[in-house]
Homo-oligomer: 344 residues x 2
Amino acid sequence: MRGCPYGTHRVIEPKGVLPQTAVKIDNTMEIYDNEILIDVKTLNIDSASFTQIKEQAGGDVEKIKEIMLNIVKERGKHQNPVTGSGGMLIGVVEKIGKDLEGKIDLKVGDKIATLVSLSLTPLRIDKILNVKKDIDQVDIEGKAILFESGIYAKLPDDMPETLALAALDVAGAPAQTAKLVKPGDYVLILGAAGKSGLLCCYEAKKRAGVTGKVIGFARPGEAAERLKKTNFCDVVIEGDATQPVEVLNKVLEYTGGRYVDIAINVVNVPNTEMATILPVRDNGIVYFFSMATSFTKAALGAEGVGKDVNMIIGNGYTKGHAEITLQVLRESQILREIFESIYA
Amino acid sequence: MRGCPYGTHRVIEPKGVLPQTAVKIDNTMEIYDNEILIDVKTLNIDSASFTQIKEQAGGDVEKIKEIMLNIVKERGKHQNPVTGSGGMLIGVVEKIGKDLEGKIDLKVGDKIATLVSLSLTPLRIDKILNVKKDIDQVDIEGKAILFESGIYAKLPDDMPETLALAALDVAGAPAQTAKLVKPGDYVLILGAAGKSGLLCCYEAKKRAGVTGKVIGFARPGEAAERLKKTNFCDVVIEGDATQPVEVLNKVLEYTGGRYVDIAINVVNVPNTEMATILPVRDNGIVYFFSMATSFTKAALGAEGVGKDVNMIIGNGYTKGHAEITLQVLRESQILREIFESIYA
Ligand SMILES: NC(=O)c1ccc[n+]([C@@H]2O[C@H](COP(=O)([O-])OP(=O)(O)OC[C@H]3O[C@@H](n4cnc5c(N)ncnc54)[C@H](OP(=O)(O)O)[C@@H]3O)[C@@H](O)[C@H]2O)c1
Ligand SMILES: NC(=O)c1ccc[n+]([C@@H]2O[C@H](COP(=O)([O-])OP(=O)(O)OC[C@H]3O[C@@H](n4cnc5c(N)ncnc54)[C@H](OP(=O)(O)O)[C@@H]3O)[C@@H](O)[C@H]2O)c1
């Protein structure tokens, strides 16, 4: 039997919507003829989601496991009901539906990372083996399904799997940064010391060039120090991205009053919309990649201060995003070392 | 005493954020030296918000009043806690802070519409006089405050106030449509028969021209029939915007398989993100104006189906948006008549 390429055939509630929008999907592991069955090894939980789960669990690993199992039991997928977001996974191709066999570049046994969100991926967790609290990764025994329209990447053999997983989780961010930043641009990156932050800073500097400026904004601490050492940023400003006026003043102080051309938000906590909007010049670009972004806070907040800026919703996908992101890790020795020290 | 131009001096909770983000602001009506006091006449509640309130009240006018009064009592502003959105207001300038006097083009007694959201405007409601359930407008006795950075428009004297209020409430939508649509574009407008929908259809046709196509999508009914009669659209397709695959198929059937260049969402109910995304071509534009848009549903939904589209958050403000919108009502006799029949 053939399913809808987008997976509507597995939506239980509400009817007619796509799996990401659904509150419950069917996670039975008999595949349709145009689906792929994956034997899952590791989940990479979206940072905004994992931050929320850790907080709810008070940091307790057993509670984290319980929350995760309950989410999948209730929804048939790992979609955090508070943040709405998912993450992605790596695993081994176990079975390919007969309508897809031979038509795609995958065979049984291939190691892949899914590039669609866990928030729409049918998932069954049989056992949680290991919760790596500091890097948002969770090793499990379980199965998942990829729809016909679902995208994936074969894992490269020149880097550890968990490293590739970490980078691919946020592949949209550096790829979009590469598209948006032009030579001479002043670029502000909020959450610059995080995973996507580091990738975006590297990519932004490469594009903005010597005539541009990359301003990294990060919470004070070890990660900020590490970012400074990379020299990706022309300056690293320390502070709290939930305090918009403070962020604005610090940025303008550094630039001597010039507003930035582009601000990129890769923070993983709520209420950072206005700190991203205020420092941007009229007709500049505000790029929200954070899953903790509120649509109304951005739309009405910008209006509220009369800011004529172009605000973009960070699409997790853009053409070639996986290749671009893995390439960055090959290109930059410093980045590779940092990612290896954390994720490998 | 002088307040922050953005109004942070009135934020009670949480500290440091801007008034739109705040859950509670100070609505005492003694103004700071850089604030403006307005004697409020009518509120125009945001459509997504008013739809939610009406639903919660089961359509009962007394319950609607109670919900509205409670929102303002709790928050010091009319911000719907479910949708996060506000609306705008018209009223008469009652007092101008001494730091602003003479420096702005307003004097006491001027009739104005605020162009910043009610979700950040300090408001006191003394009495609700009249709830106009069908047009989202509520006459009140009360006061409001405009911050120094707040934008406003003097009410034109060539049209009824409530008509100007209705149009100005959604001024961002036609102004952005004018900027985005290029000659020859195929444009899909979801919620085309609504207030912003009509304005956007008119503006889109003007820009797309004879070589372009404007596809209006609306729920079957009186409003859809009215839209057809305007001839703003090359076609009006009837259906339900919460059913993405259905919308996609109907659009492709009309275009003969060509995906659209731009989709504009001006619907007032949740779960219409994917119907907006699916019919758009690669590298096309998805413009979300609806306040019922979910950031994560858009970002992860697009990724989930591997759609490389540029998704824009509908900024309520863009330069000249009030003038552009009022001009449309002067330019188009049909539009003017429809708006007068509903709102005047
Ligand atoms: N659009 C998409 O498709 C997509 C896909 C994947 C991920 N995402 C989103 O992208 C965001 C970043 O993900 P990630 O994996 O890069 O997360 P990450 O590595 O955890 O980085 C987040 C960074 O934000 C910093 N931060 C937190 N609160 C802050 C504050 N108040 N002020 C300044 N900085 C603050 C964190 O600092 P500390 O370490 O000090 O807390 C951290 O460095 C997340 O919101 C995630 O949900 C989006
Ligand atoms: N970004 C901003 O700054 C900003 C400012 C103002 C307003 N807005 C938002 O813009 C949106 C439109 O506002 P508006 O004042 O133009 O609202 P409106 O006049 O109520 O129009 C909404 C339209 O959507 C239609 N609709 C509802 N459910 C539908 C469905 N399932 N399928 C197809 N059509 C459907 C409605 O049809 P029925 O009449 O049959 O229900 C109506 O024609 C709202 O979400 C509002 O919150 C945004």
